[in-house]
């Protein structure tokens, strides 16, 4: 619906701030958990994708840069990228990498591994990130999780940015693991009530 902008139309500011804060103090990365739990809670409790539809700051950011600023070719996304195979496959891949990150965090908590002050981009490239490390709270594991989680957030932003440029502004939404997951939850919750 077009019309007066609501408060939640400005949540892209929050997403942008989150990315910037990670350059100053990595512990801010913990705030990103909100982007994981809020959509899931809404989907489970309410059976809707209100998070994607209204509140997703990242989506708004892509729509602003790709749409309003025109940094997008606005071409159709390739067919395979919107297929269930790719969407569910990417969701599983994302989960596996996420659990590897959690395992890594556990090892640092347990003291078997030392804290790696790096951000891993695209699950491969280790970027030195020690300048955003100013000590930790409670345990080195807390910082390790922050580095790991920020890696996830930065990687997905980079992927989303690339597909924004190549295809439509919010192409990320097509294969966003959170979006796929919340849609699956909604489908399961509303099974049998669909009119199509």
């Amino acid at each position: 619906m077009k019309g007066k902008k609501k408060w939640y139309d400005y949540l892209w500011v929050v997403s942008l701030t989150y990315l910037i804060l990670g350059f100053f103090n990595i512990l801010f990365a913990w705030l990103g958990l909100l982007c994981f739990f809020i959509p899931l809670i809404i989907a489970v409790a309410n059976g809707s994708k209100a998070y994607c539809n209204k509140y997703c700051g990242r989506g708004q950011l892509f729509s602003l840069i790709g749409g309003n600023f025109g940094l997008s070719r606005k071409k159709d996304i390739p067919k395979w990228m919107k297929s269930s195979y790719f969407r569910y496959g990417f969701l599983i891949f994302f989960f596996v990498m996420f659990f590897l990150m959690l395992w890594n965090t556990y090892l640092v908590f347990a003291g078997t591994k030392t804290l790696g002050k790096a951000v891993t981009l695209l699950w491969t490239f280790k970027l030195p990130w020690h300048w955003a490390y100013h000590g930790t709270l409670f345990s080195d594991g807390v910082a390790q999780f922050a580095f790991g989680f920020y890696s996830v957030m930065l990687t997905s932003t980079v992927l989303g940015f690339v597909t924004m440029v190549l295809f439509k502004p919010r192409s990320w939404c097509v294969y966003c693991p959170m979006g796929t997951m919340t849609q699956l939850i909604c489908k399961a919750k509303n099974r049998g009530t669909s009119d199509k």
């Binding site: 619906m1 077009k2 989907a43 059976g47 809707s48 994708k49 209100a50 994607c52 539809n53 209204k54 989506g59 729509s63 606005k74 159709d76 996304i77 919107k82 969407r87 295809f167 439509k168 502004p169 919010r170 192409s171 990320w172 939404c173 097509v174 979006g179 796929t180 919340t182 849609q183 939850i185 909604c186 489908k187 919750k189 509303n190 009530t193 669909s194 009119d195 199509k196």
Partner: protein, 65 residues
């Protein structure tokens, strides 16, 4: 010009809600977080949703009168 309506390929819709945001007639809603639903009596066939849809699953069909 024949009247046109937007139609959604429901199986491929990711329910992101991009179409809802651009519809000038408030004719689209996300049905229970699963797919976009178009209110055909409100749709004027402006194609804004089809252009916006990141999955390109909205097409226009000619309405037979």
């Amino acid at each position: 010009m024949p009247k046109r309506n937007a139609i959604v390929t429901v199986q491929e819709c990711v329910a992101c809600g991009c179409c809802v945001k651009v519809c000038p007639k408030n004719a689209i809603s996300i049905y229970k977080g699963t797919y976009a639903e178009i209110n055909k009596s409100l749709c004027v066939g402006c194609r804004k949703c089809a252009k916006e849809c990141p999955a390109s699953v909205i097409t226009m069909e000619v309405v037979k009168e």
